[in-house]
């Protein structure tokens, strides 16, 4: 199993092939299509991530020491972003998720999604992912 930082490097390398924002966004939308889909029964307000302009539902379950994330969004760019995050953080142990760095976001040229504004979606998504990991970690001890 690949480590979080290895996956992140992989994602950064993939995005480095593209020369302009248009290609990056097209690839992001492409990645959104491969998003591991949430079971529709979890698409309720309880699983909505606060702080996004679009609706993003995130679900996590704990299987064999690993946290497995699934998600869905009504906006396709948000779907791409959560897909990248799930690829980086899903199927890892809670402690690895909690300790993982997130600088790779800066390196893939999607920084505007991380702006500290109210519409800031990516920051809320990362926070929610780490929150789930923290909950599973406390359940372990």
């Amino acid at each position: 199993m690949k480590k979080i930082n290895e996956i992140q490097t992989e994602i950064v390398e993939e995005f480095s092939f593209f020369e302009d924002w248009l290609q990056r966004y097209e690839y992001l939308i492409e990645l959104g299509k491969s998003l591991p889909k949430i079971n529709s029964k979890f698409m309720t307000d309880d699983y909505l991530i606060n702080g996004c302009q679009s609706q993003v539902w995130l679900h996590a379950e704990f299987k064999k020491d690993k946290v497995i994330f699934t998600a869905e969004s009504d906006a396709i760019i948000s779907k791409g972003i959560i897909a990248i995050l799930i690829r980086a953080f899903s199927n890892q142990t809670p402690i690895e998720i909690i300790n993982a760095k997130t600088e790779f976001i800066d390196q893939i040229g999607l920084r505007e999604n991380l702006s500290p504004s109210r519409s800031n979606g990516m920051f809320s998504m990362i926070k929610q992912i780490k929150m789930y990991a923290l909950i599973f970690k406390t359940q372990l001890t």
């Binding site: 924002w21 248009l22 966004y25 097209e26 939308i29 302009q53 679009s54 609706q55 009504d74 906006a75 396709i76 760019i77 948000s78 505007e112 999604n113 519409s119």
Partner: protein, 404 residues
């Protein structure tokens, strides 16, 4: 006729590059851009006059006070207000509304009713809901129709002797609808209800005659009409303002203070506790000068042309639907394209240097009415051009290609 090319030279920010493209600013309903003349007035104040107002006998304080009060007079004149003491400086429309709401919290009682419209901004719903929770008054709603107009019949139905306050925005921020406030004021007054109007989205586009409107309270912000942020006005009828309890306590709002009892100052100072936003108020005066120099009649007719042109062009885009199709509307277009999320379109437009607003625009009830997650809102000002609208159309088509 407007010389838009010359006007644009007054707005340095319009030359900015955004994501490598020349900025196209279509988020004027959120905040308008600031002309050099206003920026200069603010910096001149800090260069030459900076001093606290109404307090010092010294030269600078006198000068600052004169400039501050001159702005009050400019606002009085612009909105045809009978006395300058009816112009209360606030930090903005939301602050103005909260002054009235908190005053009425002491005047209303259980069983009284407040009417708001379905077209309101959250800032026009929440203060009244808070008041209702505190006092036990009931909040009732004027419904809207699919064109984005208020249903006046639904207003007549809920209007009664229990109605104490009616609250409506002059212009809807998300749809641009100009509401028939003359009719609403007239009908509400027949039942003895007071009317407060949020003029934030109206005052950039036309200049209402507040006396003639016979409105009881009217609120607006400077930053929507080329002024600085953090300054607004609450207008009210003189006897009503005198009767309204002060909102917050502090210096400048009192006439006599002992530990036994404090007597409040006269209006407007009763509501202006603490050091006001002096440079902002002076900047607001400069903004009104600037706009009046261009002429509101010129602004109105040019913005109408922009709206007509943009509506025609946008309607040609396959799958694009405009929300808010009142025949009386300001230069605001809210739209969606098929099932594409407004946030996705907004992000792509931003990449092409075009600033629009996306989302619910703080008007969730309107979005619920149409059963949509939000809209893309392009709002035009007198410094925008027809070429910029062409570029918007091009960019939307490009976004559709990427997102579909």
């Amino acid at each position: 006729m407007l010389d838009v090319k010359r006007i644009r030279k007054d707005f340095p920010i319009l030359n900015r590059l955004v994501n490598g493209k020349k900025l196209i600013y279509f988020d004027n309903a959120a905040t308008s851009q600031t002309p050099k003349q206003v920026i200069d007035a603010i910096s001149q104040y800090y260069f030459n006059n900076n001093s606290n107002v109404h307090r010092g006998v010294h030269f600078l304080s006198e000068e600052a006070t004169s400039a501050f009060e001159l702005s009050r007079n400019k606002i009085q004149e612009h909105f045809k207000i009978s006395k300058s003491c009816q112009v209360i400086f606030t930090s903005g429309t939301t602050h103005s509304i909260n002054i009235v709401a908190s005053g009425y919290a002491q005047k209303l009682k259980k069983g009284d009713e407040i009417i708001v419209s379905e077209l309101e901004h959250h800032s026009n719903i929440v203060p009244w809901q808070m008041l209702c929770e505190r006092v036990g008054t009931k909040l009732r709603v004027i419904r809207m129709n699919s064109q984005g107009n208020l249903d006046i019949k639904s207003f007549e139905k809920i209007l009664s002797k229990k109605t104490k306050l009616v609250f409506v925005n002059h212009v809807s921020n998300s749809l641009g609808t100009i509401n028939p406030i003359e009719e609403i004021i007239f009908k509400a007054h027949k039942y003895g209800a007071k009317v407060i109007i949020d003029g934030a989205q109206a005052v950039p586009h036309f200049n209402p005659n507040l006396q003639k409107l016979d409105v009881d309270y009217y609120a607006f912000s400077a930053h929507k009409l080329c002024g600085p942020t953090g300054v607004g006005v609450l207008y009210g009828k003189e006897e009503l303002l005198k009767d309204l309890p002060p909102y917050h306590g502090g210096g400048e709002m009192i006439s006599n203070v002992t530990f036994e009892k404090t007597t409040y100052a006269e209006i407007p100072y009763k509501f202006e506790a603490g050091t006001p936003n002096i440079s902002g108020v002076i900047g607001f005066g400069a903004a009104l000068d600037y706009l009046n120099n261009i002429g509101f009649n010129n602004i109105i007719s040019y913005e109408e042309e922009l709206l007509k042109y943009a509506t025609e062009k946008l309607n040609l885009i396959n799958g694009l639907k405009i929300f808010g199709e009142s025949i009386n509307k300001t230069s605001v277009i809210s739209f969606n394209v098929d099932e594409i999320h407004p946030y996705d379109i907004g992000l792509i437009l931003d990449k092409m240097g075009i600033a629009v607003r996306t989302g619910k625009h703080c008007t969730q009830p309107i979005m619920d009415f149409y059963n949509i997650p939000g809209t893309v809102r392009a709002s035009f000002a007198f410094y925008n051009t027809f070429e910029e609208i062409d570029k918007l159309v091009f960019a939307i088509n490009k976004a559709i290609n990427i997102l579909k």
